[in-house]
Amino acid sequence: MEDGLALHHIGVRFGGLTALEDVSLRVCPGEVVGVIGPNGAGKTTLFNVVCGFVTPQTGSLSLDGRPLRPRPHRLTRLGIARTLQGTGLFAGLTVLENVMAGATHTARAGLLPALLGLPRSDRDERRLREHALTVLDELGIATHAGAAPDTLPFAVRQRVGLARALAARPRLLLLDEPAGGLGAEDVDALADLIRGLPHRAADPCAVLLVEHHMDLVMAVCDRIVVLDFGRVVAAGPPEAVREDPAVVDAYLGATVEAERSEAERRHEQ
């Protein structure tokens, strides 16, 4: 089966620095795949390759067996949505508008109907608003629909970011460190949520997850890919990866450092 997203032997170099080398991975429908690795292992670069922010020098991508040349603003059209580290919300838009913005590619009315304020544009807006409210409701944050993002606690803002991505009705959701800055309780709730994504009643989606938080990754992922210095050093189900000596060497040795930088970041906030 060729379904889902596949990366074939991706290589990315920034000048003399090798960010990714010969990285292959696949996310099939219904799967939650985690990418872990120490800081600078190439996790974010990997996401940027999938989103089209970075063009790999070698290798190729495919989606459902067809070659994929991603461009960021076309992603949602292809059924791929991504959340950003932090929250990446639009500060000048309400929560509802943020989520509506996520479903931009489903809008049909063009510039002229919008300029003339025609009912066609209004219908579009009503449909987007209802859809956005449904997603907000699903994530349990519909009461904040009218609020400005800045006024909300971080955990809620993080969910708004998730809602914005889900509003695009993706078949594949890329989560970039969704647990960053969350408390233990919130991480547990997030884990339940992520596990449920491939089984949503409407618009079920596979998940590719980049995360530092080991407990979360171990709890939600069907498969884990471990990166170190831009290479895949291990891949497999969580229990196998946890035991892998290469992982213990490369990753757990660095967890202390990662946690320290995390603590520093929180201190700065």
């Binding site: 009315a109 919008a114 304020g117 544009s121």
Partner: protein, 367 residues
């Protein structure tokens, strides 16, 4: 982006509250509002003397430009120092078309609509060219590009002397007010009607756009370009649309100014005008069409104010003239700084905060 961010506070009040189940079409709501405004202008046009009528018409002309600029800078986050030049494009195009009509003996008043349309179209073309370049630039580089436009366009009128008649400028032949209005109908009142109708139509279109997904895309692009792209928004295209729409509004404003003054000259559309427009928009309340209204009033009222201010002192005519020429800019600058410190949301921001407080008090009072 930092330069633009500095002048674009989050337009929190532009955010739409949740109002489910509304079914009045946007265009009807905005048209109803415009009709109300038109009635007010109609009443005022009979209450005010000819000079005030003319001033109000000038406010309407400036309002097109400030409204367009507030959408571009306030909502889409693109700074433009070149809107004065876009106004000049509209004004000169209108003058050329009106002259072409007059040379062929076409003097029907209705042709003005065609002239205005051509003027807007010409500005759309210029705006599209500048907009495509602008979409590639950020912050100070964007400011630099638009600044160049502001300087180059008036200079072109001198370079191509044969067409634009240099510093002298062009006269704009205008048809008299329709005969049906009677022989003693003040021309200024007719001018106000013309300008008000054109401006209100422009505002309705802008308000429709701002309320649509395009308005949301403008603000999304302003707030976070990466997130906007990932949300499926074509950032460059959105910025070009904002620039073109804004340019079209400025072109209409410039054309209306030419209609009112019945002449155009490069002096009226210098860099100062661009700076004035920007300051007016910021003082009025960036990103809000209502703020653009305050800004337009300010643009007309301020020279008037400085004139009466300088006439308070006994000065030599030369000194008075110099002072009058520079005082508006100085006062505008000072006002801008005061507004930025005291009320970053501008006049309109202050007003909506005030009405918000009053509403809360009123509810408190009733319960």
């Amino acid at each position: 982006m930092s330069a633009t961010r500095a002048v674009a506070p989050p337009a929190r009040h532009a955010a739409e509250p949740v109002r489910p189940g509304r079914s009045v079409p946007t265009v009807l709501r905005h048209l109803a509002f415009a009709t109300g405004a038109a009635l007010v202008v109609l009443v005022l046009s009979y209450q005010l003397d000819s000079f005030r009528n003319f001033q109000l018409a000038t406010v309407a002309a400036y309002l097109c430009a400030t409204a367009g600029l507030t959408v571009l800078t306030g909502l889409c986050g693109q700074l433009s120092l070149g809107h004065g030049a876009l106004m000049a494009t509209g004004a000169y195009t209108l003058a050329l078309v009106q002259n072409a009509f007059a040379e062929r003996g076409l003097t029907a008043g209705g042709l003005l609509i065609l002239s205005l349309a051509v003027a807007v179209l010409a500005t759309v073309v210029v705006g599209a060219v500048v907009g495509v370049a602008a979409a590639r630039l950020r912050g100070p580089y964007l400011a630099g590009l638009t600044l160049a436009v502001a300087v180059v366009v008036p200079a072109l009128t001198v370079t191509f002397n044969g067409v634009f008649n240099g510093e002298q400028g062009l006269s704009v032949p205008m048809a008299p007010a329709p005969r049906a209005l009677g022989p003693y109908f003040p021309y200024e009142r007719w001018q106000l009607w013309t300008a008000a109708v054109a401006t209100l139509l422009c505002l309705v279109l802008l308000a429709n756009l701002v309320r649509s997904r395009y308005g949301r895309a403008f603000r999304a692009v302003r707030d976070d370009e990466v997130a906007a792209r990932l949300a499926g928004i074509h950032v460059a295209r959105t910025q070009v649309i904002a620039f073109v729409v804004s340019a079209a509004s400025a072109g209409l404003g410039g054309a209306l100014l030419a209609v009112l003054a019945q002449s155009v000259s490069p002096g009226a559309f210098g860099l100062t005008l661009s700076l004035f427009l920007l300051m007016a928009v910021v003082i009025g309340g960036l990103g809000r069409l209502a703020g653009a209204v305050w800004g337009a009033f300010l643009l007309v009222a301020l020279p008037d104010l400085t004139h009466s201010l300088t006439s308070l002192f006994t000065l030599s005519p030369a000194a008075a003239q110099r002072l009058e020429g520079n005082l508006p800019l100085a006062i505008f600058g000072v006002t801008l700084i005061v507004v930025m410190i005291a009320a970053p949301g501008g006049v309109q921001g202050l007003l909506s905060r005030l009405t918000g407080t009053l509403r809360v008090r009123w509810r408190h009072h009733r319960s």
